[in-house]
């Protein structure tokens, strides 16, 4: 497995090396948006959700926690386009307010995961030897637990349900993937001339790693991170769905799908709209991430 990853990283980095100039990350994103219509669609969806999450308090929406029992479980209508839930709360408002929980949670989880995983992976790849094989076996071990089951065990060990416990669990489960990816990149990069040059000038090992190698490793990791925000959102929502993530009455997509399924299938709108919200964000992120990858990898673009 590890050798395959390394080989893939080698080709990608080698091709990047043949480009006349290293593109900046922003330039990469703009290029992806210009040449890949799918990436643009994805970007618009994600940006739309971010805006909704940000502006939710300013929108003419009901309080997401406003209970009104005499209008409970109403099917979608003009006044409540997504219907109402089992205590008469407006589902449009709850779905939009839930984006303020799920989307930042996904981004935060991936950001933390990326920092932890990349640091560990960079140390493994740069140090080599026993440290490297120890870290890699730990990664293998963590990766051999299916994420959701390990996350359940961790969330339970941390004392039961709660969004933050679910998020910590997801971080603990996902970091090894970044460690592997980063290690592969560092392994190939550290054979480059600029590293040899820096070393021969007497630059310290830590400085070589953090100032010379790490800045050259952006591209595939950024793509992976984009795709993983979607995965993190789904995993967190899944934990809430089975009842060990966000706790009611917090408006959270996974928890809402769960409540809807408990109320009964005849009230289809209760689960459908929060689920659609999850799917649209994840699809948006997948579109955008795939587009980024295509824009980055000349081999893929030709196909």
């Amino acid at each position: 497995m590890a050798s395959v990853t390394t080989a893939m990283a080698t080709t990608t980095m080698a091709e990047l090396g043949t480009l006349p100039r290293r593109r900046s990350q922003l330039g990469m994103v703009i290029q992806a948006l210009r040449h890949e219509p799918v990436a643009l669609i994805g970007f618009i969806i994600v940006a739309g959700w971010l805006l909704l999450a940000l502006l939710a308090p300013l929108l003419p929406l009901e309080d997401p926690n406003f209970v009104q029992l005499d209008r409970k479980l109403q099917s979608p209508s003009w006044s409540h386009p997504f219907g109402t839930d089992d205590v008469g709360r407006d589902l449009v408002s709850r779905v939009i307010y839930a984006s303020r929980v799920s989307v930042p949670a996904g981004i935060l989880v991936v950001a933390v995961t990326m920092v932890i995983g990349c640091t560990v992976g960079a140390i493994a790849g740069f140090t080599g030897g026993k440290v490297d094989s120890f870290i890699m076996r730990v990664c293998d071990a963590v990766l051999s637990f299916p994420s959701i089951i390990l996350a359940m065990a961790i969330a339970a060990a941390r004392g039961g349900p709660g969004l933050s416990n679910a998020m910590i669990a997801v971080i603990l489960v996902l970091w090894p993937e970044y460690a592997r990816l980063m290690r592969g990149q560092v392994l190939t990069l550290k054979e480059n001339e600029f590293v040899t040059a820096a070393k021969s000038l007497g630059v310290s090992g830590r400085r070589v790693l953090f100032r010379h190698i790490l800045p050259s490793t952006d591209a595939p990791i950024v793509v992976k991170a984009t795709l993983d925000v979607g995965a993190a959102i789904v995993l967190t929502a899944a934990l809430s769905f089975i009842g060990i993530g966000a706790v009611p009455p917090t408006a959270e997509w996974g928890a809402m799908v769960n409540q809807g399924s408990k109320v009964g299938l005849q009230y289809w709108w209760y689960s459908t709209f929060p689920g659609l919200a999850i799917m649209s964000v994840v699809m948006g992120l997948n579109f955008f991430g795939d587009g980024l990858r295509d824009a980055l990898d000349p081999r893929r673009r030709r196909r």
């Binding site: 076996r137 730990v138 293998d140 637990f145 959701i148 089951i149 060990a157 004392g159 689920g275 799917m279």
Partner: protein, 339 residues
């Protein structure tokens, strides 16, 4: 390095990973807040000093951590995974009941994923850039982006409530008895006992959860096969075959597909293991009495021995599947053995 050398190295690596996994579950057990004796035998029993002392010596709880770990592994090797807190049942016995149910569901899901995913991938690659390709890619994209638990509810609403084509929950019709247990797999046991009605009932119950569980794997398989088949179709040996006048069907079937299947088989192996995880959500939705439902029940009751038992079993299965995938990969692609 020959094939056997490769297999031995992979086997040793798997053992090392297994060792780390056992440490991880051991640490998880100790990360649990509260008195470990309570979590092994329950609070009321733990109040009796002689019982407490017996448990402490059995699990080595009075010894330092590394020694406790040795006790832990020793107990595991003797099939002792502790008892559940909530209903004081042997974890291993509980797992013996739920694992076959999950295996049956997983096999059905894989069957769906392969029979739909492989043709989809082939069509997409052969008709690359044309509308069948777009349709196939869209289906696989839906398969990989749709949250499993939501797809499950959606299909349940359509097929069991609105149109009532399929049963909503469980493995068998209400009131139907399980066939006499031989293998633990209802499908096989039913056929062995000649109870075709039981087999038919199970088939009707398994369709919906299998589709839901298999949709993600289906998406991955068709995507993987498409991209490797597209790559293979552009290779020199395919051009040679075409130049020789081999028919397009033969080119795809005999030349390109054979090579394109190698990475796909790896992916099939890996997603097979991930299906066990997806089972957590699918089984919850369709009340399928398997490993996943058991795991959720344990997690909600904070029943650590049960939950850690599930975690361990799934990790071990994953490592075993991974080992066989690696070996198969080595057999199929000689280059891997050297690398």
């Amino acid at each position: 390095m020959g094939l056997w050398g490769y297999i031995v190295v992979r086997f040793l690596q798997a053992l090392v990973v297994l060792f780390f996994v056992s440490i991880a579950t051991f640490l998880l057990m100790h990360a649990v807040p509260g008195d470990p004796v309570n979590s092994i035998i329950g609070e009321r029993q733990a109040e009796r000093p002689e019982v407490r002392a017996a448990i402490e010596s059995q699990y080595g709880l009075d010894k330092p951590l590394p020694v406790q770990y040795v006790y832990y592994v020793n107990n595991l090797l003797h099939g002792d995974m502790g008892t559940t807190i909530t209903d004081r049942k042997d974890v291993l016995d509980e797992l013996r009941v739920v694992v076959p149910a999950t295996m049956e569901l997983t096999f059905a899901a894989m069957l769906f994923a392969i029979t739909v995913g492989v043709p989809l991938g082939i069509v997409a690659a052969v008709k690359q850039g044309k509308w069948p390709d777009h349709v196939a890619r869209f289906i696989s994209l839906i398969g990989t982006s749709i949250p499993v638990f939501w797809l499950g509810l959606l299909l349940a609403y359509l097929l069991t409530y609105k149109y009532q084509l399929l049963p909503r929950a469980g493995q068998l019709d209400v009131g139907m008895r399980r066939p006499p247990q031989v293998t633990g797999f209802i499908s096989i046991d039913a056929l062995l006992a000649g109870q075709t009605d039981v087999f038919w009932s199970l088939t009707r119950h398994i369709i919906l959860p299998a589709i839901v569980l298999g949709s993600f794997a289906m998406g991955i398989i068709s995507r993987m096969l498409r991209s490797s088949l597209v790559a293979a179709l552009g290779d020199d040996y395919v051009r040679t075959a075409r130049a020789k006048g081999v028919s397009e069907y033969q080119v795809v079937r005999m030349h390109a597909l054979r090579n394109a299947l190698i990475p796909t088989i790896t992916v099939i192996g890996l997603t097979f293991a991930s299906l066990l995880a997806g089972a957590v959500l699918t089984e919850t939705i369709f009340s399928w009495p398997g490993l996943g439902q058991f795991a959720v029940r344990m997690a909600l009751k904070l029943d650590y021995p049960g939950l850690i038992g599930v975690t361990l079993v799934v990790a071990v299965v994953y490592i075993i599947v991974n080992f066989f995938v690696d070996v198969l990969y080595g057999i199929l692609d000689p280059r891997i053995r050297i690398g």
